[in-house]
């Protein structure tokens, strides 16, 4: 869910590894970011909407990733995937480190690019 730079790139990599991939985004224009040889499905729809998720095939999905620009959208979609559709593997992006910590403690697998990137930068600088 979310076909931004990260979403499009991830979808391309997974499809290249021969996984069946469906990308969901509210804006069809964002699908331009997908690689030209993308073998998966691109679907226009809101990942917070149960109907759209069903159309994307969430009921048979092995994994769900939420990487839209909105932390709260990612959190909500990930929880729908996990608690309503019981998707076995759910990962989401949460920029806000505090919010990430809270949802991690609630059992949601979440990555904060803010924390990760700050640490990488720190390592680079301190050599």
């Amino acid at each position: 869910m979310g076909c931004g730079r990260v979403g499009a790139r991830l979808a391309g990599l997974l499809a290249a590894d021969r996984h069946t991939v469906t990308v969901l985004d509210t804006d069809a224009y964002s699908f331009r970011r997908l690689p030209p040889d993308f073998s998966g499905t691109a679907l226009v729809g809101n990942g917070l909407d149960e109907e759209a998720l069903k159309r994307a095939g969430i009921e048979g999905a092995d994994a769900f990733v939420a990487v839209t620009q909105g932390d709260n959208r990612n959190v909500m979609a990930a929880q729908i995937a996990k608690h309503i559709f019981s998707v076995p593997k759910v990962v989401c992006r949460i920029y806000d480190p505090l919010r990430r910590d809270l949802y991690s403690s609630l059992g949601l697998e979440a990555i904060s690019p803010t924390t990760v990137f700050a640490e990488i930068l720190k390592e680079k600088l301190e050599g």
């Binding site: 917070l48 909407d49 149960e50 909105g70 909500m76 608690h83 309503i84 505090l98 919010r99 609630l106």
Partner: protein, 220 residues
């Protein structure tokens, strides 16, 4: 009670006013600086600028001692997160979320929000009541029991007019509570009360029997 309101838009504004009038201690969290200023100017310093979904902001406003948090921004996902942060990080006993997409009601409930208010549904129901030909009007929902209080109008052409209540094939679980007639005097229906044209019947029914109740009262 100490109540935190997340979102100072139109709903938040009037809600805060009403809660203050009732004598509660209210604090509004609003992202937009102009909205914040306006509220503070008008109601005294009750609004803080910030993101009500952020734990840091909620800590600042003393959410750990709040009795209730009400999230009324225009975005369902923001309301969900504000309520969840309040509940899980600050142990706020009661969280209420406004939702715009009525389908989110079940999702929010599953995700631990105590109460949801669907502005869309509320508007729909009110309009429904004003449509004179509408056969069944929802008056009240008794949520935890899955019951509804409804009003059914019995038009003159109904096949049930002239029949006693005991001959109506009411669905199980549905109970007729009141019949209101032209004279405005409500009566409690008995088994031998005869249905008349233009009766307004107030009944309690399980959600799923709504249609069956309507058919029982109006005939086919």
């Amino acid at each position: 009670m100490y109540i935190i309101v997340v979102g100072g838009g139109r709903v938040g504004y009037y809600l805060t006013k009403a809660l203050l009038d009732e004598g509660h201690e209210v604090l509004v969290v609003e992202k937009n600086a102009t909205i914040c200023e306006n509220i503070n100017e008008e109601m005294g310093s009750v609004c803080i600028r910030g993101d009500g979904c952020e734990a840091a902001t909620l800590a600042e406003v003393g959410t750990d001692r709040a009795d209730m948090l009400i999230a009324v921004t225009g975005d369902d996902e923001d309301n969900l997160v504000a309520c969840q942060v309040a509940k899980h990080k600050f142990n706020v006993p009661r969280t209420i979320a406004r939702i715009r997409n009525p389908e989110n009601e079940t999702i929010f409930k599953k995700l631990g929000i105590d109460v949801t208010v669907s502005s869309t549904n509320v508007i729909l129901e009110h309009i429904e009541e004003e449509v004179p030909t509408h056969p069944l009007t929802h008056l009240l929902e008794i949520r935890d029991k899955g019951l509804e209080v409804v009003e059914v109008k019995v038009p003159a052409e109904s096949t049930t007019v002239g029949k006693p209540v005991k001959e109506l094939r009411l669905p199980s679980g549905s109970v007729l509570c009141l019949i209101i007639r032209k004279a405005r005097k409500p009566t409690v229906p008995a088994a031998n009360t005869i249905l008349q044209a233009e009766d307004q019947v107030i009944a309690v029914t399980p959600h799923e029997s709504e249609e069956a109740l309507r058919t029982a009262l109006r005939g086919t």
